[in-house]
Subunit: 324 residues, 2 copies
Amino acid sequence: MTTIIDVAKKAGVSKSTVSRVVSNKGYVSQETRQKIEKAMHELGYIPNMLARNLQSGLTKTIAFISHDFNQHTSIFLNAFTKTALNHDFYVNLYVTGGDKDKELDALNLMKYKQVDAIFIFTRSNSWDKIIPFKKFGPISTWHRIDSPDIYSSYVNQYESYLMSLEFLLTRDYQSIGHILGDENNKNTIARIKALNHFYDYHPELKKDCDWIFVNSSHLNTGRDIAKKWASSIHKPDALVFYTDFIAAECISELQLLGIKVPEDLGIMGFDNSTISEIVHLTTVDCHLETQALNCFNYLHSQLKQLDFKPKDITQDLVIRSSTK
Amino acid sequence: MTTIIDVAKKAGVSKSTVSRVVSNKGYVSQETRQKIEKAMHELGYIPNMLARNLQSGLTKTIAFISHDFNQHTSIFLNAFTKTALNHDFYVNLYVTGGDKDKELDALNLMKYKQVDAIFIFTRSNSWDKIIPFKKFGPISTWHRIDSPDIYSSYVNQYESYLMSLEFLLTRDYQSIGHILGDENNKNTIARIKALNHFYDYHPELKKDCDWIFVNSSHLNTGRDIAKKWASSIHKPDALVFYTDFIAAECISELQLLGIKVPEDLGIMGFDNSTISEIVHLTTVDCHLETQALNCFNYLHSQLKQLDFKPKDITQDLVIRSSTK
DNA sequence: TTGTATGCGTTATCAC
DNA sequence: GTGATAACGCATACAA
């Protein structure tokens, strides 16, 4: 391994001068610069990032923490990584599998100086446990959290959920089933609020509490929901899911059961992820790419002390044939 | 920031003794160990990875290079990252977007000591350009390559393709269309060989060259293939795709066109990825998780000078309702 | 069992 | 403009 010292010897200068050339800082005369560049070239000199990192105290690396990496993660991850690379930042992956301790290990990496900042895609620990890590560096997430310490690119699912329900009404769906996420999730709470308001606005519609599911229930997969629907006597004529994949699973199972979408049952998803196009799912596009951009830009601005203006995120209905 | 020097002062010992405690190497008496641990705790000492990395010359990080991260990548990525983390290794992502120069930048990271090893998921440069990087550290891939310098976990797609075609024959499909990947890809070459042998074995079947597509053609997406099929006069009664996602796109478009799968047209995929279950796709499971395991274990064994025995990878037909 | 001295490769701070 | 020297924080031969 050749170092700046080797280059310095070969070029007959001091290592500080070589460093100036390598890092392109400070004054070096044309003459000596060329001498040094020639020596660097001949020796095949390669700067050592490890030494640079130690010196600067920075790694130019951001941790991306998630339970796992599946089709649900990939849109976001792809956008995030692309943006990061464009800004000369690396993205380090940490799969926690939903394990709280592993998640804390991952969060600890920032204080060990292994990474400069953290993005949280999914988490198991409470925000109260996570927020203290802020003192070691910036943290962002796409989940809904109201904290001055952690940036969140969340979209208001109250609005989009109301929009989805009103849309179903225009398509003449009268009784609607609701498949919601984790009950403690703020998005879920916002959706429940929207749902209640929706029924307040439309007293003619009946709210069927048997068809409001939260993730904590036994019916976790879309396939379970489909089976439940098929075997029920009182059944809604439309189902709204909190995420596309579960909706896609449901459609898939409905096909096996010979139930027609959207004639027998209308289905709506959320996210406009790749799979939604495959299964013709009506859904809401919440522009994950833009969210990823905002999440990275926040971290970047914190690290470089730039000011940060998030891009506006709209929520747009994407109408496909899973609804009438 | 507190360092081992601070701890040493507080505990009244030398920094080397502290280092021994921190890194858990060498002899330290119970007594002084406790003194040091107490001091570490009181000062809230945190070891600095940057310094450790410089000292060891290692980052415990592996680069994962891919054109992008989509549903196609996620199974592999997930398995790879999980395995890596279990062995205390980090995974760094490099999205190249198919750009040759960006890919070379990513490969260069190993010589800059930014990563210890490299896994290549997708590539743009020729192997000849990639192989020289081997001298900076181990490289593995899941693509088919026969080189002593790069480990490959590839499965023999000649066998699996022949298996797929023979299976279709048992289901009474007589004329088969073939959708293949990049023409320079070794997997594609293996598939073409299998295809030719298949027609040699079964002279009663006619080989329709109009229905053998390689990726370089204009028909890139599954939707294009579906439209082409719908508008053709001479059409095969089954299509075999080189990857599930394109097959899923095709099924999706066929549904829009009112064409029945498997009655009007049988469809087969390859990979057994998540999407295949959603769209009821008959496919081949080539155990990506095991391949990812092998790819990581190879790199790990090279870095730690262990011996490496890859796990056997079988290819299993997964029969769903996209075929009769 | 512990301390001393030196190295890892680079950058920053001074003089000159 | 350039060069000596000291950081950066830790690890490790070697001496004691």
